[in-house]
Amino acid sequence: MTWDVALILVTDGLANGAVYLLAGLGLVLIFSVTRVVFVPFGDIAAFAALSLAAFETGRVPPTIGMVAVLAALALATEIGSLLRRREAQRIPKAVLMWGVLPAIPCLLAWLAARPGVPVAVHIAVAVLLVVPIAPLLARVVFQPIADASVLVLLIVSLALHFLLSGLGLLFFGPEGSRTTPLTSAVFTLGDGFTVSGQVVLMVGAAIVLSGLFFLVFERTVAGKALRATAVNRVGARLVGIRPVRTALLAYGCASLLAGLIGVLIAPVTTMYYDSGFIIGLKAFVAAIIGGLVSYPMTAVGALAVGVVESFASFWSGALKDVIVFSLLIPVLMLRSFMAAHSEEEEEEVEQ
């Protein structure tokens, strides 16, 4: 391997790493606030990419139907639980929140699907369109069992991924698609070594977004509420933070991140309805390097995973995923050796 090749692999790896970084931030955000390991994260990213591809070919993205179905389910769940608690007077608000609010991006998407709409609008709408997905899923699937053990939540989360990828196949079909690059600029660095604008865009987006993330967490009340809930759920509740609301906020932010990932990678990889899973899993490897709680360590992990992946694919394209996932085992071992040995009582199995 020459230095040229190594350099190309590193830039490639950094671009991948940028994607895993954003995904890892989303996963850590959801896990720390709700204890849910959100496996369907990658699916949402794939849906955003496929929505963008649908816009480009002049079709109305099928995501609209999916969001509408989910919104109907969430609304039904919410109304059901309100009726059970005999709080029927709150139904109009619930309709607004779970019925009307998710319908707005759907309407926008429907309008944006006409010819002659600029690409930038398409991108923005494709991201907006997937934002309601995670909060809606959370309302239907996770909120009723919010007090279950991490393991039950993890199993449900995995089942949810299979549900979503099944829906993806149903709505988007088995064909893959790739969108036109967001930019065709090429930067030349010294010795004829070039970096494509897309890579710069991906790395730049990751830096800007993680900076924003940091600012939100450090400087805003909502960010502090998220942090407080992550540190101690009961304590946060005692000072008046509503865990349900912060959870929805976390899901919404994560969904937004997933949407951005989708539009960022759509031009560089052919996306299928189930491509998200592997992206999500690799982000997991990164998130686990951060112990599912630390954002800076997750960032480092994401870049490491990206670089390892790009070198692994140079040596053996077929085995690159095996190599990346095997990376998880030493990482996990290291983590468990570093972790303080606290005796945790496991919950009883239900008989």
């Binding site: 393991l151 199993i155 149903l170 686990i288 085992i329 468990s336 005796e343 945790e344 496991e346 199995v349």
Partner: protein
């Protein structure tokens, strides 16, 4: 007895029906039942591993795959007999499970299941990328099994082999759970400290359990390969693993029968969906996964105990609580007893014990001794460092500096379970009992270090003599604390005070030299306290040495021979109760000084 007989009749009926099925059913049903049998075998391992042992695996299909590919490779490319393939498959599965388990089973919490996803994916991907294993096309023309010249190529004859194996595996698991290693496995969810306190190593217990579950999966893989006569990577990926987990969860992780019921439910449902969905829509294949995932999520929302959990709740409601009979077993030789040290010789000595947590000195240069045949009380106001001292001398926490000698051995730095094996038995301030195990089983867990049957012996029922000895000993200890008549009730149904007493019986079942009790009188009523005091005095008569950490002054003063008083991490006074009571420093520590 009646319930037992009913159960035997039920099992006999199931066996009879299963034996007759091939004679009456069509070949489609037989193939479906073959698949169910194979699924049940894997799910059985998961019920043991996840349901009983508390370790979730999302990679069980990978073990099925390792075994299937092992036998497929050996019989097709090497032309060997499938029976050698069986040995090879089990060996390879067992070794892989051992290696993976050794790497990952120390992981805590959700890291363990996440790691199973990682290796589950990696192994399945490997199958599709290795030339010798036929890459994505897989291996075909696997020979059928032959038993004494009789070919099992026909699904009907394969059917009997599969279900005999399933039956034997169920029997093995059932025997296992009612035995010494089984109790340790059932104790896993109580935490590593609980197991260490009875002299068992939680990591080793979990590792053997993991390998056992993998071997069940390996057996299933071998049957799978020789039934389908073709293997390819896709039936062994993470999706398949999750389907196996679904079987175990759907049937009920709490019971062995859950594996059978769950496998049947999932596969019949899957087949049903494949039949029904095409009638409703043209995109049936796509809807199948959606319908399946939805059902799974609904199940976890509304019936986390699975089908057997629902059934059990229903039968319990109908039958009410059955009055359990006393354990009547033929008398056997009691378990061998330890030689207790002569009265007055030194049993435990703590010398300059120091424990720092960062900058906080919790225990500061404490020294005291405990001699054989006496009851010593360790008291002090809140925050005096009693519990930390307790953890230091039971080796639950490592000491910063100092020495602890137990029976003339330096035990500082020894693992807790080894100290327990030397004859130091303890109870817990926050009771650690297994609520879903009977009183008898909870106490029998205490005798773990006095016996040695392993998983294989227990599963094959070769441990019966020792098992009877253990149960007799447990019953004896229960009688000793006055709970002998309630031996078959569940420990979780006892009030907290009684649970503390039950912990003492568990500690006694270890035949201890020194009994260390952490606040045994907390939560007891006056009568119960008096009974506890009588019990402890009786134990002292019998030569057991007792160290007791307690808050209840009245109780301690009347009971102990000597007291050690701690305050702010240091030893304040040591002496007989009357002297300690009169000591001004002690009064100041408890009530505040006038100065």
């Amino acid at each position: 007895m009646n319930g037992n007989r009913k159960r035997m009749v039920g099992i006999a009926a199931v066996v009879a029906v299963l034996a007759l099925v091939p004679a009456v059913a069509g070949s489609f049903t037989v193939s479906l039942l073959n698949d169910i049998g194979i699924g049940a075998l894997v799910a059985l391992g998961l019920v043991l591993l996840t349901g009983v042992g508390g370790a979730t695996s999302f990679g069980q299909a990978a073990f099925v795959g390792i075994a299937a590919y092992a036998t497929a490779w050996l019989t097709t490319t090497q032309g060997m007999s499938p029976w050698i393939g069986l040995l090879f498959a089990l060996l390879l599965t067992g070794l892989s499970a051992l290696a993976i388990g050794m790497l990952t089973l120390r992981l805590g919490g959700h890291f363990l299941p996440l790691s199973t996803i990682a290796w589950g994916l990696s192994i399945a991907m490997l199958f599709g990328n290795v030339d010798a294993l036929g890459r994505h096309t897989g291996l075909s023309n696997i020979p059928a099994l032959r038993i004494a010249g009789w070919s099992l190529a026909d699904p009907r004859s394969m059917y009997y082999l599969i279900w005999v194996v399933v039956g034997l595996a169920c029997l093995f698991s059932q025997n296992l759970l009612q035995s010494r290693p089984g109790r340790a496995i059932r104790g896993l969810r109580g935490g590593a400290t609980l197991l260490a306190s009875v002299g068992a190593d939680a990591y080793r217990v979990r590792l053997t359990l993991f390998v056992t579950a993998a071997l069940f999966a390996g057996l299933a893989g071998w049957l799978y390969a020789h039934m389908n006569r073709f293997v390819s990577p896709s039936p062994f990926d993470v999706r398949a693993s999750i389907e196996y987990l679904l079987m175990a969860v759907a049937g009920g992780l709490g019971q062995l029968a859950g594996a059978l019921v769950g496998a049947a439910l999932v596969l019949v449902l899957k087949n049903g969906l494949q039949d029904v969905l095409p009638m409703l829509t043209q995109r049936a294949g796509q809807l199948e996964a959606v319908a399946f995932a939805t059902l799974f999520i609904l199940l976890l929302h509304f019936a986390r105990g699975g089908l057997m959990g629902l059934l059990r709740r229903w039968t319990r409601r109908r039958a009410g609580t059955q009055a359990a009979s006393r354990h009547e077993a033929p008398a056997v030789d009691p378990l061998p007893h330890r030689q207790l040290p002569a009265r007055g010789t030194q049993v435990l000595s703590v010398n300059g014990a120091v424990k720092r947590f960062g900058g906080l000195v919790a225990v500061n240069d404490v020294s005291f001794e405990v001699n054989a045949g006496e009851i010593v009380g360790l008291i002090g106001p809140n925050g005096a460092g009693k519990s930390t001292m307790f953890n230091l001398l039971t080796c639950t926490l490592p000491m910063t500096s100092g020495q602890v000698r137990f029976l003339d051995r330096d035990i500082a730095g020894m693992p807790q379970r080894q100290v327990a094996r030397l004859g130091l038995a303890r109870t817990f301030q926050h009771v650690k009992l297994r609520p879903h195990m009977s009183l008898l089983d909870n106490v029998a867990l205490g005798a773990h270090s006095r016996t040695r049957s392993g998983i294989l012996k227990a599963g094959l029922r070769l441990d019966r003599r020792e098992e009877m000895q253990i149960l007799q000993e447990a019953q004896r200890q229960l009688d000793r604390i006055g709970l002998g008549d309630r031996a078959h009730e569940l420990a979780g149904s006892l009030p907290l005070g009684t649970q503390r007493i039950l912990e003492i019986a568990r500690a006694l079942a270890a035949d201890p030299v020194l009994l260390v009790l952490d606040e045994p009188a907390a939560g007891l009523r006056r009568k119960e306290k008096m009974a506890l005091g009588d019990l402890l005095r009786k134990l002292r008569e019998e030569g057991v040495t007792i160290l007791i950490v307690e808050h209840d002054m009245d109780f301690v003063m009347k009971l102990v021979d000597r007291l050690v008083v701690m305050n702010f991490g240091s030893k304040l006074v040591e002496g007989v109760p009357s002297a300690v009571r009169a000591d001004e420093r002690v009064q100041a520590a408890y009530l505040g000084s006038v100065v």
